[in-house]
Subunit: 289 residues, 6 copies
């Protein structure tokens, strides 16, 4: 990952890239199990310094790639158990997990959430199953893992089986920013408001690649038109500078739907963020101010 | 189509999806004959409600897919005759045709036109032939099917054999909106003007997929760079709300040029529109207000 | 090329398209050696008149395609020698070279430069080699071919091995316009400033296709996300109208990375304009002499 | 499907095409859930008569497409239950199921098996799960659904975690025909032996598309090189003529890995034949009753 | 074409490559109008000598590329007229036409025919039209252009609307070689018989790229599985050595269905040979006069 | 590589996979610099045991992946120097190098050669350069690295600039097996002769992926039609069992020309076997017997 060292555990790290190669909970097009591998391959182009922002995270933070967690492709509940165990260990070592491939199934304490996605992922149950790729944040609410007044969802769009699809989110106190409010606009003003909302308490960042328009990121399972641009994605990531970040993920990268090398660019969103996000955990935040 | 019922005729419907799988009049890259099939396949992802606009057309309108009309792939004039006969029947039953694949060859009475396209499609004759994919709206003018003062063409661009390519349009009284006037702008102000121009008289909507930039909609035969974005396309479609729509089409979808699944998104433009366009035929317009 | 005549030498021409099918100095993905062929193939769709700008360059200028120069795919220094000789001859005949495929290795006298690119291309040496695809403009500075106060670089972005990657450029007096200053904005104001900066002295235009966002131009070797849009590219090219243009190029087109023919179409139509629009219609021909 | 009528149940049919759009038990590349849709789309090119064999199954048999069975994409055991119920109903009506997408999970009584595949699919358990795409025929053995002395597996190849991967098969009495015995040979002699082995007792045909070489059928999740050719596949299918066929399937078609529509066409036309040719023309219909 | 000279007419040539960029008579997937361009592009890899056969046709024959004939994409009958006129002129100059893109619509006197194809192309009429891509050889029979006792059709396969699809061919005295007779066999014995059948009277060679298996030549509109291999195609072409060849064509190359340039390369190198090897080296030139 | 351990040097290994990511000496389509990466990615599917042959090389040999050697993409002579130094070190440690990406530039003492390729790679000089991808084996002859009476070249084909392209090879005493001698035949008899020719003296195996037909291995720069099949390739590799192998390579894998991941999978699984089965160097040969 980004030519960083590879090591077996999170011991001694400030932040660690971790892969979760799983897609068995997918409703439409599967394939995200290959996302972590592809993200790593593409990241070899990312260099040490960001010429635009001056960010140089690896100058001050010990970051490594600790490989993939074990999953069970034939059983979703068993996979959840395996992932939970691995993450407990990572977090216990004081390391910030940077996840490739899957939304958080285990977080410590209620956290704020910056969630970029086409979908709110707050469905209740589908076909009687409560764990699938459309439900993670409702499960998080139920397990009291989210500080609901500090949740923002950006880029939401798409049609729905429900006449009022965002009702659940509103009721929890989430801020839903539909993509219509983002079209043809800089998101810097929005991110100023987000930073105020998040304060200095812990924040998790979840980036679903389908938040981007499929012209920029075709390699995903449930594309929706008229999404965010890469420029807006960078504004969001860069706008998180200074937050107290306790974890982040990039999910739903399904490389087989991106026939052209096109994904290299998509993935660079990852790189951009990895260039800046590992950054400000707790005590070292001053580096970035 | 959109998981709507399939039925053999337009009898009893408010609006009907109809396919016209024909591309023999194409000058550059053929393949649009497969457009209707692809649009139907992709539309299976469109759900009942639009979370952004609240549109729920099928709650108040009876809509179905009535299949493809017969065409003769070896004879363009004969195809025109076959299409004309089929549409006469559909319209006679009081149903609004929602066409997949071909511009209108038969319309009732002079109508207004909202035309999204890279090309004005008002050529006179090519190689001595008067019926080809570049001429339909000149033919419509000649047959007095258009109310020329209520015609707007949006997204026009591309090079030309003619030093003044829009002269014919201007002479008829069409409003031509070149794509340069759309770049990096919301089209909501334009659509306010369009609604004023159209009034409450009948309007036909013709959407050529190449009106979009080819990065968003590569599956078409005559792509031109620097086109509309999906966000702008949705602004146009949503901006038609309240008009007295008597028919619409989506044309020039040639799926083989869209190698990646990318087209799924393109097609969603269709879905977006089908979510709102069947809408306001005559007496039921209040539903949307 | 654009259905223009093909001829063996530049004799008697005002401007000439020339191909340089070389990519041996590439650090990441090679393939640009096929760029000139692809650009020519795609250009068959460009017609005589530009409906948006009224440009009709071939009404007043004698332009032809004079084929490719010889290169030595196995030796970069020998290729440079071969290219230099060919260009000396072209320029000696009073003809403006419109290059497909390679930055200028030979220019006459110090010239201004409008440079569209994701990268500044001012690296010093890589692996001990001073001639590679990242260094041409540093070589130009050293050979005093650039009028450094009249150099503008537009669309610059990407990560770097160097903490201050634009320092060299600033020290020479170049104006660097990072892509962040272009996002979601019309570039017409920028181009007004560029025209003032260039004055009526000679200007060279170098357009690296990776200046565009890879969603629009995937066919290139070193894509970087969040680039320029085709609309902005046209604003730049059209904004050069009136300048005293002594040469131009379109480089880094590597068609095999653009799986859908369509997108390379996109960028090449663009390219045509690069060659075509800067050329002064009618009354301004003397600028070239 | 093959332009056959579509109907809701198997009532009154001699044979019925049924889709099982499921791939959650896949170990490598998922996507076979889209196989049934693709097979149906491609089958529109198959016409009524086979010029080579004279087969005309629909002259004597009532065949229709009865759509897809319900599955639960989030739970493999629940999917198995749903499939089993649907098939019980189909078979009870006296209809032969022609399955698109999934090996049989429910068969009546012990049957013979002609199994074309790269893999024996007789694994025991993976990651503690007994139901996944590598185990179906071991489960069949355990449920006494196979007449083990009348099982032949053709095209077997690939590397293994087990030093003697075919031991289980041999112990059950299966005949394993490794692909090495098929290379560059007509399979007519083999099929004569197979017909003798099967006799006139009931036979099920299971055709995994990865039995073919991936050059001919790239659209699958676990390709293995040096497989069967389409000519050999047709020899196998045609060699089943006269057998007492009680069901058949075509599985592991994952269309997204077949970038060129053409090749999935290849394999699907193949598929059609799977469904079609085993069926006895005219005078042999009684075999099915 | 093969780096041969380009000239405007057939004057003074022994043989000439001619393109016919037309596909309006296609029933399934269109696109062959781009075949001639693609064949020419790919042919740049073919060199002067064939190491396997020693053929060196251009040592003894004057061959050039004389460009495309004019066609009318909107009218098939008019296209036929235009093609006929062009060919009359070519043949009148004593030059052998080597056609890229379309079966012969005009031949001089009754000739023998070596026809490689998946389809016999002897349909009568489709949708009331007598001229389409399935009928050319029936039209030739009717116009007495074929010496029916000297016609061989190789590679025939595919399903049919007609229970006895080869009846018409047999009645004319054609030899039909279904692909089943070619599977896994050298075709040298067949070609010995073909040479005896053809004698020293004039022969035309028509090569439809879909005679090959679609794994080798996916770029075509109506692929059929289990076709010829490239090795067999070369055996056929080389087996024509010594015949009195008066013309040949390569048809149905539709490059957009061949996503990987590589495969169209495959088939086009093949094509080159079509044009090249049948031509008698040195001592046999008189056959052509 | 094949889930083998990764280590920094060849110390203590029996054999080592080494990558040489270089393609600057390519005449046609570049891209093989990405071959080693792709081969490694695909090899993750290869398991411990070969069910067909019983081979289990890692049970008796210590094999690891020692990464890529350094190369200089901008200077071919400098790259050769770097490669030579790395290999000297590997061989000095008593380890057999299994090369991904480049023919041998340094071998110890005269060795026999089993060379699978479409081209003999014995060109003299191109454009005045003596080191390019068409010349390595002539350079080897000149440096007396080959035991010319023990050289066999299999699969040779393609057109040539030279009327007698294999003359040089014959003069050295090489056995050239043109692909025509392989068509539709088992190569086991050939390999029996090869084993007799090689005896028990040292042998190097060089496998150029373009020896295969491009339908099976499109991901290469200079494809030639009518090549070997994967079955024949396996017969060659397995036919090397028992030879005294001192090194081997797999070259010219250029993954970007293989649009479907699947086919590069095909060829890489092949590759694995190249590395794996030939193995038994010197003293451990009995393992295979």
């Amino acid at each position: 990952m980004m030519r960083l060292p590879v090591q077996a555990s999170a011991e001694g790290l400030d932040a660690a890239f971790v892969g979760v190669p799983l897609d068995t909970g997918t409703s439409n097009r599967p394939g995200a199990r290959f996302g972590p591998r592809q993200i790593r391959a593409e990241s070899s182009m990312v260099r040490r310094y960001n010429g635009s922002t001056g960010a140089a995270p690896f100058d001050s933070l010990r970051v490594a790639d600790i490989g993939d967690v074990n999953v069970n492709l034939y059983s979703l509940p068993d996979s959840c158990r395996l992932i939970r165990e691995s993450y407990r260990e990572i977090v216990a070592s004081g390391c910030v997990p940077l996840t490739l491939g899957k939304e958080p199934v285990s977080l410590h304490g209620p956290v704020g959430l910056v969630h970029v996605d086409a979908h709110t992922d707050t469905g209740d149950a589908a076909l009687g199953e409560r764990i699938y790729h459309g439900s993670p944040f409702r499960r998080c609410v139920e397990e009291r893992l989210l500080d609901c007044g500090r949740v923002v969802q950006i880029g939401i769009r798409g049609s729905s089986y429900d006449p009022d699809p965002h009702k659940y989110c509103r009721e929890q106190g989430f801020r839903v920013v539909p993509v219509e409010e983002c079209w043809m606009k800089s998101l810097e003003p929005l991110m100023r408001e987000v930073r105020a909302q998040m304060g200095d308490k812990p924040v998790y960042i979840s980036f679903d690649i389908d938040g981007l328009d499929p012209a920029y990121a075709p390699g995903t399972g449930t594309p929706e038109i008229a999404g965010l641009t890469p420029a807006q994605a960078l504004e969001i990531i860069r706008g998180c500078k200074g937050l107290n970040i306790v974890g982040c993920d990039l999910v739903e990268v399904a490389p087989m739907y991106d026939v052209s090398g096109c994904r290299s660019k998509t993935m660079n969103v990852e790189e951009e963020r990895t260039g800046r996000e590992p950054e400000p955990p707790a005590e070292r935040r001053e580096i970035f101010d």
